[in-house]
Symmetry: C2
Subunit: 500 residues, 2 copies
């Protein structure tokens, strides 16, 4: 091993430890730390994130990467190390342009803004969050100005979460969807709707936790390499492929939400648990493409979890763990988990109208970053768009613009990933059935782990080493298109709603 490579590996090792504890601080703030303990965690997070950032942009690291990129050094590197060195150098070019003190301001504001969002949502008062949102928008623009000067800010943000993606492509894909879904949803809403009364009884959160554990294990989540926490908004994070954590939220009068959050976050987690462990804690591990990531969570949640056959092998066990479910037949349950309706909350939406929730957010973000719509106008704009796409108006900000945490930590440009994920899912589904046969059969026979294995081998194993375009090309051999997803929706809902 060359001396530089040895130094570089030691340096990576130290960086890894800082990232490790930043992840842990974030996890604990959300899942465990008490109200009065938040400030201590924010102090520590600000300090260690700043140190971590300084390390990832230091002259020392830059010098090592330059050396490792020289032909004679580079030729000696493993393929993984070649990827890591190339990727880190590219990221560094951008990140080094962010002044360290401004980065520190960003980290502190992210944490404070996250807490303000929680308070604002609890109080259903946008004005508590507005000044923080304003700061996050300004800071996001400022950061994009350093990393990608002269580029359209919103395209920089889209590319950050889904490399190679831009608003022209998204306009096309979302356009294809809108064109097909607006008439489909009209037909569905005109059809007979199921009665959902039974789903509003009281479901003990302790029982819901047991069902969640069953579902996680059923789809292939490893408890030896994972943990579960409780938060306002479910999420997944990981330290490495050996420690991947999901959270959930339990509603006393809705058993379905926590089940599908479990399957969704479980999908993210299965991805991370199955990345090549050689990539752990490097730029090659932990998939950084959010569209690709969401394609996995949403494949489990929707393509598999909202298929009736998914439930055939486990439904009796669910009824045992949550006795009120004994009053609900599998048919009734299946109708309800595919109950299409115009609703207020994205995370609770059915898979069809969900698309409109994302299109709305995508347009909001374009309004913020392209049209510079001022923060105080955003709730009104939100409500207008809700009326336009979903024909309802939120009664308050908590069920309107405050419902998602994403903007609170500056994750602008993330929302489109969810729908890109579903678009990819339509494509994967067609390919998977070509290779493994009908999904209905596989699920009905309780062979879901075969699907997990297929996804492991086709997608998960590669972590961040394949860009979204490469993933799609490798799995499906074609360009991305919304048509397979549209076909899936049209076929499925013609059957669910008995449409002509």
């Amino acid at each position: 091993m060359s001396k530089t490579l040895e130094q570089f590996e030691q340096y990576l090792d130290k960086m890894k430890k800082y990232e490790h504890i930043n992840t842990l601080l974030y996890w604990d703030m959300r899942t465990c730390a008490p109200k009065l303990g938040q400030a201590g965690h924010i102090d520590a997070l600000t300090y260690f994130s700043t140190e971590s950032f300084a390390m990832s942009t230091s002259d020392e690291l830059y010098g090592m990467l330059e050396t490792l990129k020289t032909p004679e050094e580079f030729a000696q590197l493993s393929d993984t190390m070649k990827f890591i060195v190339t990727r880190m150098q590219r990221d560094m070019e951008k990140d080094r342009r962010i002044p360290k003190d401004r980065y520190k301001v960003m980290v502190r504001e992210q944490a404070e803004s996250g807490n303000a969002w929680e308070d604002a949502k609890n109080a259903s008062d946008f004005s508590i969050f507005a000044p923080h949102l304003e700061k996050m928008i300004a800071l996001t623009k400022e950061m994009a100005g350093y990393t990608d000067p002269g580029k359209e800010v919103y395209d920089v943000l889209l590319d950050k979460y889904e490399e190679g993606m831009d608003s022209a492509t998204i306009d096309r894909l979302f356009g294809e969807l809108k064109e097909a879904l607006i008439p489909l949803v009209k037909k569905i809403l005109a059809a007979k709707q199921p009665d959902d009364t039974k789903f509003h009884a009281y479901f003990d959160p302790d029982d819901q936790r047991k069902v969640q554990d069953l579902l996680l294990s059923y789809i292939g989540f490893s408890k030896d390499a994972g943990a579960v926490g409780e938060t306002e908004h479910p999420f997944t994070l990981n330290f490495s492929s050996k420690d991947v954590r999901v959270t959930n939220h339990y509603y006393e009068h809705d058993p379905i939400s926590a089940m599908f959050s479990a399957i969704h976050e479980g999908g993210h987690a299965i991805f991370e648990q199955n990345v090549n462990p050689e990539y752990d804690n490097t730029a090659a591990g932990s998939c950084r493409y959010m569209g690709v990531h969401e394609s996995q969570s949403r494949f489990y949640e929707n393509i598999l979890g909202r298929n009736k056959n998914f439930w055939i092998p486990v439904y009796e066990k669910v009824q045992e763990l949550m006795p009120q479910m004994k009053d609900i037949s599998l048919d009734e349950f299946y109708r309800e988990i595919n109950h299409v309706r115009n609703s207020l909350i994205r995370t609770e939406a059915d898979e069809v109208t969900y698309c409109f929730h994302i299109i709305l957010r995508y347009e909001m973000e374009k309004a913020i970053f392209r049209d510079n719509v001022p923060v105080e106008k955003l709730p009104e704009l939100w409500n207008q768009k809700m009326k336009e796409y979903l024909d309802i108006t939120p009664a308050n900000d908590a069920e309107g613009i405050l419902q998602d945490m994403h903007w609170s930590d500056g994750s602008f440009g993330y929302f489109p990933s969810y729908l890109l994920g579903s678009i990819y899912d339509g494509m994967y589904l067609e390919e998977l059935e070509k290779e493994l046969g009908p999904v209905d059969e596989i699920l009905k026979e309780g062979r879901i782990k075969e699907i997990t294995k297929w996804l492991n081998e086709k997608i998960h194993w590669y972590g961040s080493t394949r860009t979204p375009k490469e993933v799609i090309a490798n799995v499906c051999g074609k360009e991305v298109s919304a048509e397979p997803l549209v076909r899936y929706f049209e076929k499925k809902y013609a059957s669910v709603y008995d449409l002509k």
Copy 2:
């Protein structure tokens, strides 16, 4: 502010952040991190603890402390800062003699040994733990050799957990207890014993958690400044007075264990939540005297929690939260929580025979550090002493020598603190009744918070600024003695067991 003081405060601030994340890593390892994620945490903990230790023993800090101790600088310091500077300098003199690389070995071995102990306990196989125990003993001796060369190792360990305490004093106090308790326990065991059948029914752990939350809140634990986790062995830790965490363990066929663990750990936590917040994250905060600390947890657990009057205001609520308790009258419950019997597990023992569990461990530790009894002989010695003091023999190591985690992280010399705590409690009780009137009345009327306030003002507020001897002198105005505890036992159990 002098320039050195300013630098010193910045330095303390950085140290605080390292300690903060070391505490968090430990918390997460015990309460949340999955099996395969432990190694990543151990790596991080080893790194940051070593850095933290290096910071607390650096020449830079030493120089600052020297300067701050000069008369002109020292005179300008606040009383708190005077305490901190003096205390840190004294600790540093000792710690600086530990080689940094040996400290690192110690930290890593502590973490690995903790995991080995857990595996050994689960497998009930001492041989899994033995090599780690051997290393921990050797490392403990080695460390004592650096910090206190030439001193009796076991006295160094006792002084570490309860400053000013030595084996001569403990021999006297435990001797007083033995003399009185051996005949008392004989009399009790000869009396009529209550029927405990009802307490072995199934008690849902989810209900037990609800009862735990009720009890914590009832005694004064603040949820805004605290959190609860689940672990094999309950413990309390704190980041500052604003973030104090307890853990618990729930046995399906024993509702009492988790209740009393909650009250015990709640007592530790109430202590930490009520230390002068000015002392947060300094050598003045977070009480470092374990006898004094245990005196608080055990005051809540035994003096208050095992008093019938404690339950009068809450027993109905407990029965609501845990329906099986409706079959159990308060009288039956009271008899059971004071059911004296020879038993195997320290943490499950009644308050009387508990004393023998500690005396046994104290004698074991003397055997290890004074008589150098080899590790492989320890299970046999343990079982001999169990027979001698408690007239029973463990069927296996899990319910014998492996039951406690203390030795796994090298906390030799800690066990006597529990009994010292009870000895102090006897003294506090007499003083408290002098000042506030009969505890029975206060508890019966649901005025337990008045007792908490008394303890807050007399003990908690001072954190680490008063040594155990000073605490006793300030609260009781006399030397430590086991006589009040003996009087408490004799009076209480004459009544519980209707002894002549």
